[in-house]
Amino acid sequence: MNTPVLVIENLTAGYGTTAIVHDVNVTLQEREIAVIVGPNGAGKSTLLKAVFGLNNCFSGDILYRGSSILKTGTANLVPMGISAVPQSGNVFPSLSVTENLEIGTYARAPKNKAHTMARILSLFPDLKDKLKQDAGELSGGQRQMLAIARALMSEPQLLLLDEPTAGLSPAFLEIIFDLILEIRSTGLSILMVEQNARQALRIADTGYVLVNGENAYTGSGTELLANDEVRRSFLGGQARLKSKQSDSDSP
């Protein structure tokens, strides 16, 4: 079997001296989508930030194509072919859309920048008319698209997405999930943290349910969606939460 693109091995990580995720394992194979789901505070984003060197790793390892990237440093990951899209604050608001896209090429220049730009804009046609506009003036969905487009400008091999549909309308949600599938079809491997668990697991090759910072369930997206325990304790829980919210919203 080929070396996996990314292996998170018994990782314990967190902020300062506090560990948020404990002994977590994740494996991402070539051209796969791996999705990490779980309740709020489960440590999903912490795990993704650890991969990108943005918090403290206390034990375990993170291997990219077989080599440890624990001490590589955030800015050095893009030249290696790893791009990340944070959940919020993921565009440079005072820079134009074009400038945001250009920034994506600085650490790892594509072979043909104009060709890459054209290809990416064909994936995100909404951005085509807004190239000169400041990113800060875009809508939430357009910002999310720009953030993903910026990450793709370096022609990465691994894309890390932190809740790409957070705060988006249902219409945009579908667009983003379709885009993720389309991006995968171009040969990328994608590790994604997502709150919209059902939709995310539908497109996942592998799913990881994180609870209290630990691996609770692992399986293919279809397996996890069909797993009664997962549905009851997590996906069902989400449904219950939604109904609670609508109860509290009602007069």
Binding site: A75, F92, P93, S94, Y106
Partner: protein
């Protein structure tokens, strides 16, 4: 009318140009490193004194000495960052702000030890102003100061807008963590910010020396109007800082212009203008004219 132009407007634009050069550095450092650099005025003084030394030793004009003084000040700024500010980078910015006060005192004391506390001039004697259209009188040093600032403003605009490093600087100013995630080497951007800020500060310091004299409080006295200019333009907006510097410089000179025989303010109170503008701005438009970052 010509009295207004010759004795108020042109000196105002000159003073504003000096503020503008200093304020660009203050604004850039605040935008990228997230702290108010209280030693920036003393970097101006450092530049002015390095030029003074070259004028004394080599007998060259201060304008010829300027590039070397700029380089020397940039090296001093990089050393200060390495020794005092970088170790504090991960701590709350108040530590760095307080450190910059200490650095300001260190720089001033060193200058006083090396060059003494008395004021000096680059070239003694009176320089006759140039006269245009029989009545427009403008000193050649004022032409040099204003034209250099204009050239710097144009160059800075193109640099920030069109160069890779300029865009990286704006990106780090917007969001340093996202910049790192995008693969931008933030330490390189920080180093270039110090180099640019220090070079412009040295230039401003030499221009103060050309216009008046060189003394150890030269930069410290300029700090308040420079901060006011950076705030007026919008923190993290270098082009705004240039506009802010010009507005404050011109305002300081114009408030003492007698209208119907009465001046709004006595010239001895003109430094209060920057303070008043800064206070009004912080209350009514804290993001500045160019929508900069809000102070936290």
């Amino acid at each position: 009318m010509m009295e207004f132009i010759n004795f108020y407007l042109i000196p105002g634009i000159t003073l504003g140009s000096i503020y503008a050069l200093g304020a660009v550095g203050v604004s850039m450092i605040f935008g990228i490193l997230r702290f108010a650099h209280f030693a920036h005025g003393d970097l101006m003084t450092t530049g002015a004194y390095i030029a003074l030394m070259l004028v004394w030793v080599l007998g060259v004009s201060p304008l010829v000495a300027m590039p070397i003084a700029m380089a020397g000040t940039a090296i001093v700024a990089l050393l200060l960052d390495r020794l005092f500010y970088r170790p504090l980078r991960e701590l709350p910015t108040i530590y760095t702000v307080i450190a910059s006060f200490g650095v300001a005192l260190i720089l001033r004391s060193l200058i006083q030890v090396l060059w003494g506390t008395e004021a000096h001039v680059y070239s003694p004697g009176f320089q006759k102003p140039l006269i245009f259209f029989d009545s427009l009188r403008i000193a050649s040093r004022h032409i040099q100061i204003i034209s250099t600032t204009l050239a710097i403003a144009v160059a800075l605009h193109f640099f920030l807008k069109h160069s890779r490093l300029g865009r990286s600087m704006r990106a780090v100013s917007d969001d340093p963590e996202l910049a790192r995630i995008a693969g931008i080497r933030t330490e390189r951007v920080i180093a270039f910010t110090w180099i640019t800020g220090a070079c412009l500060a040295a230039m401003a310091g030499i221009f103060v020396g050309l216009d008046t004299d060189v003394h150890t409080n030269l930069g410290w006295n300029m700090l308040l109007p420079m901060f006011a200019a950076a705030l007026l333009g919008g923190i993290g907006k270098p082009m705004g800082a240039i506009a802010g510097g010009l507005i404050i410089g011109i305002a300081e000179e114009l408030v003492s212009y007698p209208v119907l025989g009465v001046s709004l303010l006595s010239p001895s109170y003109k430094s209060a203008v920057a303070f008043i503008i800064m206070l009004v701005l912080l209350i009514f438009r804290p993001q500045g004219l160019f929508k900069g970052r809000l102070l936290q």
